[in-house]
């Protein structure tokens, strides 16, 4: 026993053993002490120093100071007229495509809805916020479009913005048109997926991106098998009025195994023989598109929106769509109004014809007015009810002011317009434009009078520009 308490013991241990142990001890020492050393870039502060830091900290104001702005106050009249700040105008600003907003049947259905259900729904869909009116509307939309299922949202903006993050998660890939509306942008942001922006309606660029991705995937096929890829586009682009090239996208879909989501807010109830939207217009099988979403605030004059598609896709949103699960459901009287409007669309296809004829006629006239003006470019397809007069040389704030005064003087001459001004967070905020929305309520005379007012104003603007 005594041997162990003397240095004798060291002699019995092999020499190499000792060396290894010393190295190990050094390693432990190094691991234990080196980590805090690395973090000691910010030394521990004394309580007094901490207090000083807290006292010294001055936050920015909660919001920057801005000038007070006033929204124009409107009153809607039946037909194509609107009163904007006491000026009676032709309504080229609101999305009243089929002129159903003031339709007696729609409003009557809404009023009856209030008598039956009251105003609010008092709960999310899961917890006693599902009314029979919602179920009917969902069924009607699904039947109308010829898909398995539809799901209702209580706010147009939240529809696509909730649908995207329900499927796309971190690590997934989204291919999105550059000029997509803000709801799509926000939905994509909420999903935290990787986003590839392709140039507006540029299928070549989309193909390049998909090819590059396919190349990437060939290196790691196991990962590729679980990475969801989704192309997201708008039927009619709200920021340009251009129709998406859906056929090419469907080709890509099967070639690259990418899903296609289509936001039909501006094309549902507008395009196609019976108003089913872009798929009908281009004669594409609707089930080739994985998810169709649309706001029911435009062609259908109600509030909210819907997503439609196969049961496999849509049903998932009932548990995963944030804006569906966690928000109060659509007031049931508005669902009633929407059902009635949908019936009218089915029964009166002439409205659709009138809208398309108006859009084409107006496009032609506008083109003539804009030609050679060197101030504006007309964007979009002729059949689209949304037209944009895009500034040819957008550069500074002066343009914004010019557009504001343009809208103001149009208003005083009886034309209500809207500027395409965007928020800073919007990717598309750089294009300054004037937006014109055509409705089925306009007569050709009204459209022509609008064009003559506009061409007068454009001439004035181009003269003042050339003077500078």
């Amino acid at each position: 026993m005594e041997r162990f308490f003397t240095l004798e013991v060291l002699k019995t241990i092999p020499y190499y053993h000792l060396c290894i142990e010393l190295v190990l001890i050094y390693c432990i020492y190094w691991l234990y002490f080196s980590r805090p050393l690395r973090n000691q870039r910010r030394p521990e502060l004394t309580p007094a120093e901490k207090q000083k830091l807290i006292d010294e900290w001055q936050p920015d104001p909660l919001v920057p100071v801005v000038e007070e702005s006033r929204d124009r106050i409107v009153e809607h009249l039946p037909g194509s007229k609107i009163i904007v700040d006491r000026d009676e105008c032709l309504d080229f600003g609101t999305f009243n495509f089929l002129a159903l907003r003031k339709d007696d049947a729609v409003i009557g259905a809404g009023m009856k809805g209030i008598r039956d259900y009251g105003v609010g729904s008092c709960g999310p869909r899961g917890f006693y916020g599902t009314f029979d009116a919602h179920i009917y509307l969902e069924e009607e939309i699904a039947n109308f479009l010829g898909v398995d299922e539809a799901i209702l949202y209580s706010y147009g903006f939240s529809t696509i913005a909730s649908a995207i993050p329900a499927y796309a998660k971190r690590g997934d890939l989204l291919f999105i048109d550059e000029q997509s509306n803000f709801a799509i942008q926000q939905g994509a942001k909420a999903s935290r997926s990787k986003i590839h922006w392709y140039r507006h309606n540029d299928m070549e660029h989309l193909k390049e991106l998909l090819d590059a991705q396919a190349e990437c995937e060939a290196k790691n096929p196991r990962k590729a098998k679980v990475t969801r890829k989704i192309i997201i586009a708008e039927g009619i682009c709200q920021n340009t009025g251009t129709i998406a090239q859906l056929k090419t996208m469907i080709d890509f879909k099967y070639k690259y195994k990418v899903r296609v989501f289509l936001d039909e807010s501006n094309s549902f109830g507008v395009l196609g023989e019976t108003g089913k939207g872009l798929t009908e217009h281009l004669n594409v099988d609707i089930l080739d598109v994985d998810l169709i979403s649309a706001e029911t605030e435009r062609a259908i004059p109600s509030i909210g929106g819907f997503c439609a598609g196969s049961a496999y896709v849509v049903d998932h949103q009932r548990l995963a769509g944030l804006g569906y699960c966690f928000s109060a459901s659509l007031p049931p009287y508005l669902a009633r109004a929407a059902s009635t409007a949908l019936k009218i669309i089915q029964n009166e296809p002439t409205r659709l014809c009138r809208l398309r004829a108006n859009a084409k006629f107006f496009h032609k006239q506008l083109q003539i007015a804009v030609e050679h003006s060197h101030v504006f470019d007309l964007t979009g397809d002729d059949i689209s009810p949304i037209k944009h007069l895009l500034l040819t040389h957008p550069n500074n704030n002066e343009n914004l002011k010019a557009i504001q005064s343009f809208i103001q003087s149009a208003q005083s001459q009886g034309i209500a317009l809207v500027s395409g001004e965007k928020l800073e967070q919007d990717r598309t905020c750089k294009n300054t434009s004037i937006r014109l929305t055509v409705s089925a309520a306009f007569s050709e005379d009204e459209l022509s009078s609008c064009v003559s007012v506009l061409s007068g104003l454009i001439k004035k603007l181009s003269v003042s520009k050339s003077a500078i």
Partner: protein, 509 residues
């Protein structure tokens, strides 16, 4: 009636404004709960095995279309396992359709399933049940009376929608009137309203906060706040639910250490809290939050989705409940869905804040304006509350909340939250008991909301009663008796605090 109130308020102790109750369950309850989940999972795997080898009748969730063969699946495997094998068993408790006004009672559309909840069909019959599920705190969900009539008239005059964002051509005189009215009601400088409560949070926080800002968020904040914070790009630190010490520590640390990696001080710090937390029934400790906010120069974002109308002597929410000053809260947010029988949300505060939001709020710029009929409903309901005609409703709601909560506690149930809150979560723990509780209650003619994972933590599945001013004492008593009866059957009386006082109370009765 006077006597029962006395028992209710004095039997245990006088209700405290700040105190929240979160009683811990006995250990064996948790053990049973975990066994419960375990057996659900084992049977789930068994069912999946049978499905794979075509044993028994084949029931599956909707499958992807054949043409999409070889595509990466759209859904997670774990989530669909949970949906198939757990959610499917209690699916009949959710999305039950109703076909009348969601007042104190409503008509439930009867639906049946012959394949264990995989598909439902309607029998065509309807069943009248008492409503303890809808958010209808002040009882304004009505289809008769002044509110509904004026809303109907406004719809006739101004149509259902304006099909335009507020900043474009979607602002009518009604919206202006509503905003002025609401500012006067709350006693603030200015107000801006939006068409959806969820979007009020998710589309306005990104306008207020951005990269370089810090948001301190309560761990139980609503999904809309969480989404808004995520979209804002600000740094988010979560503190323990209503734990003011934790909040203060995190505030101090944040100011001292500054931003991650670049170590600059934060541009601004915003504390985001809710008035009443809808899943816990607890009330924010507003006095302390305001004190901390002032001490550390942070800003306060108060979400009054559930508390506006429901708390305070005049229905002005949690600020009035604690006698705080409305100017101490920088951003007052709330919704009109719950107390006013309408839809949509508002943000109120100083004029410069609202002016800024009118320019840069996502919802104001891009989303459709509120329906005029809804505006009118809110105006009329607010007028009723403000003018004292609605005083009866406020008093009734408070009495109902206190009475209902105290009775539940006397019976020996574990009830979460504050005595004043009209949201009453009662803990059940085991998922299967939860489902059975809901079914038995519905058989007895009472509809209640049952919530389990993933909306709550795994171990605390609960049933939630939403009280309303339109519930009469007789209705509450009937409901309480049924809860008592079913609670005995399912052995849900886990509380150890009030065994003695419940004996006293039964002797008194």
């Amino acid at each position: 009636m006077g006597k029962t109130i006395k028992i209710a308020t004095n039997a245990i102790k006088a209700p405290q404004k700040i105190e929240d109750h979160f009683e811990k369950p006995p250990l064996w309850v948790l053990a049973v709960m975990y066994c419960n989940y375990m057996s659900l999972y084992i049977f789930g795997y068994l069912a999946d095995f049978c499905r794979k080898y075509n044993i028994g009748t084949k029931k599956t969730l909707a499958q992807d279309l054949k043409r999409n063969k070889g595509f990466p699946p759209l859904h997670d495997e774990f989530a669909s396992f949970f949906t198939r094998n757990v959610y499917m068993r209690l699916r009949d408790r959710f999305n039950s359709p109703i076909q009348s006004v969601p007042g104190d009672t409503f008509e439930l559309k009867e639906r049946k399933s012959e394949d264990q909840n995989w598909t439902f069909f309607f029998t065509g019959k309807a069943k009248k049940v008492m409503n303890f599920g809808s958010y209808n705190y002040l009882g304004f969900a009505e289809n008769t009376g002044k509110c509904a009539e004026t809303a109907e008239k406004t719809t006739e005059e101004m149509s259902c929608t304006l099909s335009s964002p507020r900043s474009e051509l979607g602002t009518t005189q009604k919206h202006v009137e509503l905003e002025a009215y609401w500012s006067a009601f709350l006693g603030v400088e200015s107000t801006i309203t939006f068409g959806m409560g969820f979007a009020t949070n998710s589309m306005n926080i990104p306008a207020i906060a951005g990269p370089g800002c810090l948001i301190l968020s309560d761990e139980l904040n609503h999904a809309s706040l969480v989404l808004g914070i995520r979209l804002s790009g600000a740094k988010c630190i979560v503190y323990k639910h209503n734990d003011m010490q934790d909040l203060e520590n995190k505030l101090r640390d944040a100011i001292i250490t500054g931003q991650d990696r670049i170590f600059r001080p934060y541009k601004k710090i915003i504390i985001v809290v809710e008035g009443i937390y809808s899943m816990e029934g607890s009330v924010v400790n507003l006095k302390k939050v305001i004190e901390l906010k002032k001490k550390y120069k942070a800003y306060l974002y108060l979400d009054e989705a559930h508390s506006i109308g429901a708390l305070g002597s005049g229905g002005r929410g949690v600020v009035q409940h604690f006698d705080c000053h409305v100017n101490d809260v920088d951003i007052m947010m709330g919704t009109f869905t719950k107390s006013f029988g309408a839809a949509g949300g508002y943000i109120s505060g100083k004029k410069e804040i609202i002016d800024y939001l009118r320019k840069s709020s996502h919802a104001h710029k891009y989303a459709c304006a509120m329906s005029p009929g809804v505006c009118e409903q809110i105006i009329q309901a607010t007028e009723a509350v403000a003018s004292g005609k609605g005083k009866r409703r406020l008093v009734q709601l408070r009495e109902n909340s206190l009475y209902f909560r105290q009775r539940l506690k006397q019976m020996g149930f574990i009830v979460y939250g504050n005595d004043f809150s009209p949201v009453v979560p009662m803990l059940i723990y085991a998922l299967t008991k939860l489902c059975l509780f809901g079914r038995l209650m519905e058989e007895a003619g009472i509809s209640v909301v049952v919530v389990g994972f993933p909306a709550t933590p795994l171990e605390s599945a609960r049933v939630r009663f939403c009280l309303s001013a339109s519930h009469s004492r007789a209705q509450l008593d009937k409901c309480l008796n049924e809860i008592d009866r079913i609670g005995d059957i399912l052995q849900l009386k886990h509380s150890r605090q009030s065994k003695i006082s419940s004996k006293n109370a039964s002797r008194n009765n």
